[in-house]
């Protein structure tokens, strides 16, 4: 592994991690505040991409970058107001089920409206091509843009939560909703705002994730499980934790792909020769690069065993 490869992989890992952060920040807010494991979160991500695709055909990409997340946010808020709030009183399982149902509903609607195949949602001309070339490898503008948007988002959400009145109310409602309500704040409305805001963040990720990768009906399911890992590893409700976990997972996955060593090599180091006759050879010969995509889930399990509150989480329960 040389310096060139190291730098490029680090960049790739960080930019992928930042996209994961954009996706999971909304989820972690919603989860910590409302206790709702929002299964439809990545569906909002998908909606963001599809909305942006349609809007950008009419008014161009840059207005779509604003309009699409707002639309997704409004949809999220509406869903919270008229559906989630109603089932809230029945406990967490019905809440979980209703978001589960919503994810199917959105998937089918997207397939009905935009079809089952990939839509040609391309990058705007300003984002096409490389930003800079490093050791002969181009680093695309689109990826840099993801990084930029994610960082801007992190800073503004952090400022919103710590420096504004509504942010303080949200933080308070996060820990002691009854007390906040007793102080005269409209907690259900705060919930609606958080849910809508979380959905809008996912929508924003969809707008720029959709054209950097592909916009297709399977895009929601493909990131669905990984963002739960981010939220759990980072610590429930911790934005900074989600940030850290996203970067960690992004970099972990990127570098794991590059490592072609397997248990066979490890055995060789200690002087045991493993051949295809050895018991369990199919397992031993798996290289780290082959198991790269499941490493985050391994991390999830380990984290839950050894540090259930996550990296920066505060709650032990």
């Amino acid at each position: 592994m040389n310096a060139e490869f190291l730098v490029i992989s680090l960049l790739n890992g960080v930019s992928y991690g930042l996209l994961l952060f954009m996706l999971s920040s909304g989820l972690t807010l919603i989860f910590s505040m409302m206790g709702v494991l929002n299964f439809a979160h990545t569906s909002f991500y998908m909606l963001g991409a599809y909305f942006a695709y349609t809007i950008s055909q009419v008014v161009g990409f840059w207005p779509a970058l604003l309009i699409a997340p707002v639309m997704v946010g409004l949809l999220g808020a509406t869903f919270e107001r008229y559906s989630l709030r109603r089932v809230h009183k029945f406990g967490h399982v019905p809440e979980l089920l209703v978001t589960f149902g919503l994810s199917y509903l959105i998937l089918e609607l997207v397939q009905l409206l935009w079809g089952r195949s990939t839509v040609p949602y391309g990058l705007p001309t300003q984002l096409q091509g490389p930003l800079f070339t490093l050791y002969g490898t181009q680093f695309p503008k689109s990826r840099s843009f993801i990084m930029l948007v994610a960082l801007v988002m992190l800073v503004s959400v952090w400022l919103l939560l710590t420096r504004t009145r509504i942010g303080l109310v949200i933080q308070a409602a996060l820990k002691n909703p009854e007390m906040v309500e007793a102080l005269g704040h409209n907690v259900p409305r705060v919930f609606m705002l958080v849910f809508g805001g979380g959905a809008a963040l996912a929508g924003l990720a969809g707008v720029i994730g959709g054209n950097t990768y592909v916009t297709e009906p399977a895009m929601a399911a493909s990131v669905g499980s990984i963002i739960f890992v981010v939220v759990v590893v980072g610590g429930m409700g911790s934005l900074a934790g989600a940030f850290l976990a996203s970067l960690l997972i992004g970099i972990l996955q990127t570098f794991a792909v590059a490592i072609d060593y397997s248990m066979v090599h490890l055995f060789q180091l200690v002087g045991i020769t493993v051949t295809d006759q050895t018991f369990g050879y199919p397992l031993w010969k798996l290289t780290i690069s082959q198991v790269a995509p499941i490493l985050p889930y391994m991390l999830l399990v380990l984290m839950l065993i050894f540090r259930p509150k996550g990296l920066l989480g505060t709650r032990e329960d």
């Binding site: 990939t118 490389p130 181009q138 592909v214 493909s222 792909v257 690069s289 790269a292």
Partner: protein, 411 residues
């Protein structure tokens, strides 16, 4: 006595006359068992439309005078679902079944039919496999009731490496495939064939990644780049191919050529677009701009659905069935299966033959290259303005591979 003779001969004549056209006007129900939901939904939907569309075309005019009816059932890409879908299709009176996505479901059908056909004489069902390319299906696991219309992985690799043999610029090859039977076989056959035909070529990477899980192929592209490869061979399809090529474009991997199996399948052309022009090759038994009858079908299909009819074996399925109906004067699957064995006919990819020993269609293969559409090749893929332009055609014998099939024929 004379009169009786006349009557008998008239009766015989009459009987043979009606016998000659016994199948005429019959409805042939074909069960289509492939995914309409999940990951492969887009591909499945396109192929179901292809079957329905070409059935309509054949219903207008076919030599056998039969009417085709397609019963499409979603098998969710699962062998278990496939078995129950098959049962339901047979209950609806289907005596022919077609399937193509995944060798798992394909094996499930072969297994189920072996049992069903042995236990229910007179109700046999024939299976036409239009796209599942696992070589085992016509080798160790071959079945009399299975007929493969696609070319299997080993045949395609044979043609692909025959082409690569004559490209001296190829020095370092990188293999990247999906980690399941198909991808593993592409990797295996690529290594075998290259070692045989181009021992000087170095295989600098052999990656297997999980099927349809990877969003970000940039790490793999960085790895390809670091390996110094000039050529990538991949059996990837769907988003796995689209994202791989997109990531390669983004990273400016301009000096690496991609040799693919499924470049024209739903999703990939859009991702490749203009930036992949001249760098992506495909090995297949067809391309979009074929001459003859199929050209009209591809054009009309695009007009009707604004989509590409890229599964040419669908056309072969109907051609072979109606030919067999004419030959046997019947739509009985037992007779038709016997007639399909060894059937030869002229098609868009040359003189093709359903090899009797293993029921693998021996056919010509094209190597085509992703280029701007126009001139002799006006039809583009997914309205991108680009299409796979054939650069080389290989006669059936080039791609033919031996079989180890010990066919058990019903007595």
């Amino acid at each position: 006595m004379k009169f009786a003779m006349k009557i008998t001969s008239a009766a015989v004549l009459l009987a043979s006359a009606t016998g000659a056209m016994a199948q005429k006007g019959e409805t042939v129900k074909i069960a289509w068992l492939d995914p309409l939901s999940g990951l492969m939904a887009a591909v499945g939907t396109n192929q179901l439309k292809s079957f329905q569309f070409i059935a309509e075309e054949f219903n207008k005019k076919n030599a056998a005078g039969v009417k085709f009816e397609i019963i499409g059932i979603d098998n969710k890409l699962s062998p278990q679902e496939t078995t129950s879908a098959l049962r339901s299709a047979m209950d609806q009176g289907a005596r022919y079944v077609v399937q193509g996505n995944g060798s798992g479901p394909a094996l499930a059908i072969m297994d189920a039919l072996e049992k069903h056909n042995a236990r229910n004489p007179g109700k046999e069902v024939v299976y036409l496999n239009y796209a599942a390319v696992d070589p085992d299906l016509t080798n160790s696991k071959c079945s009399y009731w299975h007929f493969r219309l696609d070319a299997d992985t080993s045949m395609k690799m044979e043609a692909l490496t025959t082409y690569m043999k004559d490209v001296p610029e190829i020095k370092k090859v990188y293999l990247i495939n999906q980690n399941y039977s198909h991808g593993q076989q592409v990797s295996k056959f690529a290594k075998e064939n290259l070692a045989r035909k181009r021992p000087d070529v170095q295989v600098v990477g052999d990656d297997l990644h999980p099927l349809a899980q990877v969003r970000d192929f940039a790490p793999y592209v960085a790895k390809i780049k670091a390996s110094g490869a000039d050529t990538v061979i991949t059996g990837n399809w769907g988003s796995d191919l689209a994202l791989l090529i997109k990531a390669a474009n983004d990273a400016g991997l301009n000096n690496v050529n991609f040799y693919t199996y499924y470049g024209s399948v739903t999703g990939s052309p859009t991702a490749m677009g203009s930036s992949a022009a001249g760098r992506v090759y495909m090995v297949a038994y067809a391309h979009l701009n074929l001459p003859g009858d199929i050209n009209r079908i591809v054009v009309d299909y695009k007009k009707k659905f604004n989509d590409d009819m890229y599964t040419g074996s669908v056309y072969h399925a109907f051609t072979m069935l109606s030919d067999a109906f004419v030959k046997t004067k019947s739509t009985d699957p037992v007779k038709v299966a016997a007639a399909l064995e060894g059937m030869k006919f002229k098609s868009f990819n040359g003189e093709v033959e359903m090899r009797k020993t293993d029921h693998q269609l021996q056919q010509g293969l094209f190597i085509s290259k992703w280029e701007k559409a126009g001139g002799k090749f006006p039809l583009d893929s997914e309205n991108t303005g680009y299409t796979f332009v054939p650069v080389k055609y290989y006669e059936p014998y080039v791609a033919s591979t031996p079989t180890s099939c010990q066919m058990k024929r019903p007595s």
